[in-house]
Point group: C2
Chain length 332, copies 2
Amino acid sequence: MEYIGETIIEIGESEALSRALSVFKRADSTLLGSGDDAAVVSLSDPRVVITTDTMVENHDFRTDWSSGFDLGFKAVTTNVADLVAMGATPRALTVALVVSKQTKQAWLEDFARGLQAACDQYTPRVEVVGGDLASGSEIVIAVTAHGDLAEASPVLRSTAKPGDLVVVAGTLGKAAAGLALLNFDDPTAAASYEELVAIQLRPSPDVVLGLEISKTATAMMDISDGLSLDARRLAKQSGVSIELEKRLLEGYAAVLEQASQSINSRAGSQLVNEWDWVLHGGEDHSFLVTLPSGAPLPRGAKVIGTVVLQRDHAVYLDADPLQAKGWDSVTG
Amino acid sequence: MEYIGETIIEIGESEALSRALSVFKRADSTLLGSGDDAAVVSLSDPRVVITTDTMVENHDFRTDWSSGFDLGFKAVTTNVADLVAMGATPRALTVALVVSKQTKQAWLEDFARGLQAACDQYTPRVEVVGGDLASGSEIVIAVTAHGDLAEASPVLRSTAKPGDLVVVAGTLGKAAAGLALLNFDDPTAAASYEELVAIQLRPSPDVVLGLEISKTATAMMDISDGLSLDARRLAKQSGVSIELEKRLLEGYAAVLEQASQSINSRAGSQLVNEWDWVLHGGEDHSFLVTLPSGAPLPRGAKVIGTVVLQRDHAVYLDADPLQAKGWDSVTG
């Protein structure tokens, strides 16, 4: 997306910020928002849940694919997913933003609108309570999100029990399919699968479903780096193994088959495979959950396997070990 | 400072992180540290005070001046100063770190030691409860710090009252003098004034003094961008003016006179002036405080002027308006 007009540097920090800040709306939990040395947020519980996530231009995103709005939206929802995966209700965010010499004021305001649009999705609304604007050679977005446990116990990754059901709440592989479509030379492929591209650019995990299922979960995590890698982390931290059943994952692959065929037929080769997206694709930010076998399964959640007691702390797909092929944010 | 050995990219995110994380020590207020989707921190009060600050390589620091240790230390203390300026006791930090292809693992571990050394200064200790490591073309450090009000009211910038005393808790101009020494062509100048250079590289505002004076302060802020600019912000936000007395600031200038003369005599010209450092130099991270005129003055705090009711919301030095010349973090 092209932005025109003055750059942030031309306008200067304080003026640029004051225009961008006017986009933000107040939330009831904010006692003091931006404008002082620090913000003050009121929780219902003196335990605060904190997570932080960073996105770097040309490493984690490209400005020709993602608008400022998309990036603001994604920066919020990916962090909120981490809070919800602990069973915490999102309350407030801070945003550390590095912009480059080239970054336009119009980009900054679109970014702020994306942050706010994501915050507006939640009930009650989440507020951007503070931030910092700095200058560098590329855009860096570091959001820190704060959640409220509201008397509940935090849901850890390390407490899955043998015999539990392994459940996914949300989509699998859609964001990876969207990324493959964006990466593909022929842009008409991406244009035909707007929903998949949208999930890559503006993931929006179901917070209501996540918080509901967190109440009965024995363990839970945000799937940010792909099912194979994240399930392995959960298995390791819980000291268990996980057996996934391929037939239970078929529905996730089926909805992506047409998109993979479309890429492969245009490419004239087997460039992509929908099963890779389902098993190894990150960024849907769905929830990987373990539930006691008798627990009710909320609408929108799906059983994909079981937790087993095994010494190797590995993930199996049917009888075979499932190799982890997810994303390492440093080596790329 | 030169670091040798493997780069972080060569080692890979998870191994690099696990080595760096081993540097960190637990604090009593941390219920759950790094390793899950989010951290959980226990406060004595359900109001959490949050601040964030960003440092960018070649904009906010240079790696030939600052070691990894220096940067870790400074990233903590500058954020903690913002919490203390609200009257909040620091409890926990998250660190979003972008490293470059060139960044060595040894730098990362030195950075972690600097973070921890700063956290160890406080009683009780502050913990680095989470973070994120990403890769980019330059180093970016974004710390978010969390404080506990412990039943007190937050101390704002906007509540100074006419008749209040204007007080500084900490040094003025030393960090700016240190920066001028580092910037000066002849490195023997910096070598002669190690204390000033150390305050620039590893500022360490007096948290005990800051929290003590916050109890009687009518308004308070961290002086991060220089007295002239920050006093103007406080005046504007409080709807008052501030009259500083030059004779009350003379002590701050006197201790910097020798360093400024040393630079000027080597340069053969009036390159620098200690009064510029005192009035406009940032980064000492001392506290600008307003106190009711009868309030006791803690040891280490110094009266520098008074709050007056005037319509222009300006800062005066004796009879003359004091031009704000501080630091804008975007335009530099």
